[in-house]
Symmetry: C2
Subunit: 337 residues, 2 copies
């Protein structure tokens, strides 16, 4: 049985290229007690992975040169020595870019193949969708009529945040970085306002104008001056879900800037950081809600699926030239069962 893997060959200088990746053939190991053999079905390629290819001191652990790239994968259990994960189970998890891999099961999330297409579990029903769901609903706790601002609004998480906030009856303002994205948020996803931070001039004024009644919930994917502009318009008892801080990921020193603490004090506001696995016990509830909303047409979701394991690097590199619309995935194999 062939078992291709993709290693990090070298760290990119600036824009990554195919030279940064290396294909290698690996043995399929003999299965030991307490492990499963997984066949990758869909592989997720995401912009955040660019950050992990660097070794700059950062809030994201870097990949190791000479080791496989790891990311979101939907895989099928094709041999099992874990009773809870019998053969035929489909799971999602953080797995290597590798056709077959052996895993001890920890952190793998079984998925219900009847709920939605399997690929959705890397997007709207997977980490990005669940991240949006928990951050917005469990931390942001939006009430009808409140104003919700989301930064990184056109991303895999931000698009879901904004749409759920609309479902909950909120006024939704998105911040993103291109006119195409702004048009998409307003025209396709129903955001009330969307701000192109690259062209708007003063982001503080733009946020202030877009939020005449102040801001009750902020879902933050970015940090930096967009967040500072939001902080200045927070209402009393505002809630801030800190989901990403991409402004600082490549920072080699401790990030500094405006202090948020005095504002949280003045406004009796709450700020909470989180990662999706903090809410693992409620994944099933969330996936059920999300899939219902998708089926009812209340949540729009787009994906671009590239075929073939060998095309993973190309699909990843395509993210940076804007080739994809919506979530970019690679289909690696058909399900066996």
């Amino acid at each position: 049985m062939n078992n291709k893997t993709i290693l990090l060959a070298s760290r990119p200088m600036g824009m990554p290229t195919s030279e940064n990746f290396k294909f290698e053939e690996r043995d399929v190991p003999t299965l030991q007690e307490g492990k499963v053999l997984l066949k990758a079905l869909f592989v997720s390629v995401d912009p955040y992975m660019r950050g992990r290819m660097s070794d700059a001191e950062s809030y994201v652990a870097p990949y190791t040169v000479g080791e496989p790239i790891v990311g979101g994968v939907v895989a099928e259990v094709i041999e099992s020595k874990i009773p809870e994960l019998p053969k035929g189970t489909v799971v999602q998890g953080a797995l290597p870019w590798q056709q077959f891999s052996v895993h001890a099961g920890e952190g793998l999330i079984p998925i219900d193949p009847n709920l939605a297409p399997l690929s959705y579990h890397l997007g709207i029903l997977g980490m990005p969708g669940l991240t949006a769901y928990f951050g917005l609903l469990y931390i942001g706790d939006p009430k009808p009529g409140e104003t919700v601002v989301v930064s990184g609004a056109a991303g895999a998480v931000g698009t879901v945040v904004g749409q759920i906030a609309k479902l909950k009856g909120c006024r939704v303002v998105g911040v993103a970085g291109s006119e195409d994205k702004i048009a998409y948020l307003k025209d396709e996803l129903g955001f009330d306002e969307a701000i192109n931070y690259k062209t708007t001039g003063s982001i503080k004024e733009a946020i202030s104008n877009a939020c005449p009644d102040g801001i009750d919930v902020y879902f933050d994917n970015v940090g930096g001056e967009i967040s500072d502009a939001v902080y200045l318009r927070l209402n009393n008892f505002a809630r801030i879900a800190v989901c990403g801080q991409i402004a600082y990921y490549n920072s080699t020193t401790v990030p500094t800037g405006m202090r948020v603490e005095p504002i949280l004090l003045k406004k009796s506001a709450l700020m909470k950081g989180f990662i999706v696995r903090d809410y693992a016990k409620d994944f099933a509830v969330a996936a059920k809600d999300l899939s219902a909303w998708v089926k009812e047409g209340k949540l729009k979701y787009q994906e671009t699926i590239t075929e073939g394991f060998e095309n993973i690097p190309e699909a990843f590199l395509g993210l940076f030239s804007g080739q994809n619309t919506g979530k970019q995935l690679v289909k690696v194999a058909e399900r066996e069962v």
Copy 2:
């Protein structure tokens, strides 16, 4: 009858000085129906009042230049045209820095003089005690065995925070600004560790050494570099109650410094600002707990009482140079009845 009052003469630029206050003689007004004449007994001076001296937007309305300063006062009804507040009743409320004042009664809280010394109702059974109670228990939510750090530990709020945390079975570390305060926290109040931030050298090292298992709860009265040192030692799912930010109260520009957001993200930590009146509906429950703990000797309480109405500004200014241990009050008059 003399009736001195203290007005806000001007708004401070940076640190307040005695120039910002003005003494004036006022008439004692004739009492009308539905009013009481109050004689101030104890006046509370508190760091938050610095904020009200500015006209920047805040959670409390700014004082008006040329009008009396208003704050927590324990006063005696010396003449009454309100049946529910007969002569001799002692009340606490938000009242002007003024020897005698006329009041319609609304918002005045009658206090039981047999429960505790009258001054306690401006401290452990008043706003500072309630602030400690709600910030620690409702936001910090400490569990037995967890590490709790409190800054401004020797203040009216901090001393109560640390003692309640000990009652809850936590390891308690206080940060304060003199050797006397450190000794008080450790020897009298049972703090596990106390750090003199003025002499410790590296506050980061001191915090790190005092918290070998990291920090689960941080009750912050101060902000600034003490907070930064705490942030670097937070455990996953830490909770931070932002109660005061005295490091910035005298700041004339937007405070900047280390960004806490990336740390909250990395640690899935929660930070919440609050003021005591956010929890008004639970005041009775809290006061019952606090007075029981005081009676059982589980909560020790210290006051610094300055004598004389004319010394109120000086007592207030002393807060910013760390002169007081425990709650700073000014005794203005003896009770008549």
